[in-house]
Amino acid sequence: MNTILVTRNDLLLLLGFTIAVLAMPIWLQPFGAAYPDLMQRFAIYGIFAIGFNILFGLTGYLSFGHAAFFGVGSYAAVWSFKLLTMDAIPALVFAVLISGLFALLIGYVSLKRSGIYFSILTLAFAQMSYNLAYSVLTPITNGETGLQLTLADPRHLDQALGISSRSPALLGQPLLGYAGFYFCAGLLIVAFFIAQRITGSPFGMMLRAIKSNQTRMHYTGFNTRPYTLAAFVISGMYAGLAGALLAITDPLAGAERMQWAASGEVVLMTILGGVGTLVGPVIGAWIIKYFENIFSAFNEGILHRTFDFLPDGLEDAVVLVTSKFVGEGWHLTLGLVFVLIVVFLPGGIMEGVRRLVHWARRPAEPGRASPRPQPAE
């Protein structure tokens, strides 16, 4: 058998995922989410969550500081725009490299511990990065306002080549609107493919084995530190890639994206969708971004229109109750959903789907044994 061959199931999954991502402008229409900026975010945070899952989902190491790599990726990309060129490729390469290096450094230290101590170490590093980025490192990060492009930026490479683009571009094609979305979507698919390969590779199996029983790994002759470190760096690079893409679609890098709340967000995404699965984290990312952008904009006016069909008194009551959960109350809904998921569906939405499929199949195929659940895709 050839080593680059993909199994049929993997190929089908990849195909399905590709179609779902590329067709976003169509199927998101009824949800009111089919506009480029939000779809770009869907793709970007999808990448972030996929990368986070490579660490958390496979090795079980819960990092509370991944936002730091996301932020570093953004800063690196914007600096590439400022100093070199408005082209996206150098920005991406630069961002992935820098965030990878940063992850190597932090991972090397943090992975000396495991469990909650590892979480606290990553949290501490991320908070230090955020605090410094906001204040002392302002010459590099432009602090509170965030790093932005200015007319005075040197852009040495562009100048040498005589290009005078004002917005991020890919080989001369400006990455705005749908072009930007398809660029991000393409990278999401590539990121998904790589994650799929990693998960299905011997390396991926080692990571899962580390999560399952680290002691046995040691007595089986494996040095687990390089494995976990590799996973940490890869997922840091994913975060950097996502951060860079956010800077490409919108050339600004702010310190807030490094705050621990932002790290918590990617944890929520992964858990919500289904930790350890390939598709789950992406779905989680989409749901949270949908909440943040669409759900949060529901105001009472919209609710009144939605419940217009109800009799007046009832309408007001329904609107009063629902308004606590939508609009500015979206955090409450998110928190509740999250608690319910962790309590009842620790495997996230993917587990819910699996249970549903299982439940739906059983009466249809009474004689056959149900398919054995696979550990991770």
């Binding site: 506009y35 900026d37 204040s135 509170e144 306002t145 965030g146 917005s167 702010g254 006016g301």
Partner: protein, 451 residues
């Protein structure tokens, strides 16, 4: 809340039809004024025009955001000819007719900015791309304002800033598409300086605690310059982390520093906490260098003053506007806002309301929504009746030049809203400054080919 009416009456149908015919008849006229008629971002084609409100609806500034939203809703009502008309009746010169903007009803969409520059930009992008917002407005921090105005410049959409006080918004980071009605740190310095000189004398030693980010630094610098010009000495300027919660470790060194004035360059919760704690340290009961120790908070907001409770009493600061002023504009706005919501408006609400009216008026005067024309109409526009006296939208940096209030925490409030008293209305001439001192470039007015 408005309930949208289902269906459309025959009469309105006929009217709309007529308007359509009229529009076709008139269109060649518009074309002669420029070939750009349809070629700009979100040119409203229907009978409504949508503006995007970028407000902190969650997070620490949620109340400020809620107050701004009330003001925007009120402004939109007034522009569309509903309610009591508010400032439309006193604002002069005004091209507003109370029938919407250029005959189109004004509508709005909102986005929760969470007081984060990133999120604010994402929200603005959404409102421009998806909801077709012709103009973006709102915000409660300078970081948001600078970030969103940069975006709006790229997209070719006008941004009418809400609450932003940093010098950078109309200084280093000014943009052709960004406009600020609110005052800035530099103006706080020049207006506060003389009052401090009168009250506390020329021989003072000041100690600054400054929020460690861009706004804090610009304010510290502005106040330092203003007080040093009075002859004050700056003993020390210490940077404090954002959101430090407990400031005691920064307050203890003040006690034996020989300083007799403490200047808190904090805003929001930082200001509430640092002021509360400073007062608890007994600073206001101290005698240093034979003088009464004083605390100054250069930028005030009513909501934060409420948060600081009793501790705000007698503290000097500056404000963009206050509902207690006695000019016709303020009286009209306070009445109108109070009637709608049962409480007086905050300065954030005021600036939000005024910005909406100013934009609508500029569109009316320009006769088009085409941004470069609207920008031209706003640049150098001089008006009165909005509560700040005669005001100029300066063309060089898009900063409104108008009077600034020096305020003090009210010693004897008559109600829970009566937390501040106006000490001095510093006239416009005194707070005008040379726009070139902060550098920056406005950039081009031609909209980007994108969007």
């Amino acid at each position: 809340m408005n309930h949208s009416k289902k269906g459309m009456s025959r009469r309105t149908l006929i009217k709309t039809g007529l308007a359509g015919i009229l529009a076709t008849g008139v269109s060649p006229l518009i074309l002669t004024r420029g070939a750009w008629a349809q070629e700009f971002c979100n040119n409203p084609t229907g009978d409504t025009v949508t503006i995007g409100l970028n407000l902190p609806l969650s997070g620490a500034y949620a109340e400020e955001g809620a107050d701004e939203q009330k003001a925007y809703e009120l402004a939109v009502q007034h522009l569309n000819g509903e309610g009591d008309g508010g400032l439309l009746n006193v604002f002069a010169p005004s091209a507003l007719k109370g029938n919407g903007v250029l005959g189109k009803k004004m509508a709005f969409v909102t986005s929760d900015s969470q007081t984060k520059a990133d999120v604010a930009r994402a929200g603005a992008t959404r409102m421009i791309e998806r909801d077709g917002a012709i103009m973006i407005t709102g915000g409660s921090s300078s970081a948001e304002a600078v970030a969103v105005q940069g975006l709006c410049q790229e997209m070719g959409v006008i941004f009418m800033a809400g609450l932003t006080h940093s010098n950078d918004t109309t200084g280093k980071d000014k943009k052709r598409y960004g406009f600020r009605h609110f005052f800035n740190a530099y103006q706080s310095g020049i207006s506060l300086g003389p009052v401090l000189g009168d009250e506390y004398g020329a021989d003072r030693r000041a100690y600054h605690l400054t929020a460690d980010y861009t706004w804090g630094w610009t304010q510290e610098e502005s106040i330092k310059n203003a007080t040093e010009a009075l002859g004050w000495e700056t003993v020390q300027a210490v940077r404090t982390p954002l959101g430090a919660a407990d400031f005691s470790q920064y307050l203890t060194p003040v006690l034996n520093s020989g300083a007799d004035v403490l200047i808190l360059n904090h805003y929001g919760n930082d200001m509430v906490n640092s002021l509360t704690q400073a007062v608890q340290f007994g600073m206001r009961d101290r005698q240093v260098n034979g003088k009464q120790f004083e605390i100054v908070v250069p930028l005030f907001s009513e909501l934060m003053a409420k948060g600081a409770g009793e501790n705000i009493k007698g503290i000097f600061g500056t404000s963009n506007w206050h509902w207690n002023l006695q000019d016709p504009g303020t009286i009209a706005f306070t009445k109108s806002f109070g009637a709608a919501y049962g409480s007086p408006p905050s300065q954030a609400a005021h600036t939000a309301y005024v910005q909406t009216l100013l934009y609508a008026d500029a569109v009316e005067r320009a006769g088009t929504f085409y941004p470069p024309e609207v920008i031209k109409a706003l640049e150098g526009f001089e008006f009165d009746g909005m509560g700040n006296g005669r005001t100029l939208y300066r063309a060089d940096d898009h900063q409104c030049i108008k009077s600034v209030l020096v305020v003090r925490g009210n010693e004897n409030p008559t109600s829970q809203y009566d937390v501040l008293e106006v000490v001095r209305e510093v006239p416009r001439e005194e707070v005008a400054y040379d726009p070139t001192i902060f550098g920056g470039e406005l950039g081009p007015a031609e909209p980007a080919p994108m969007c």
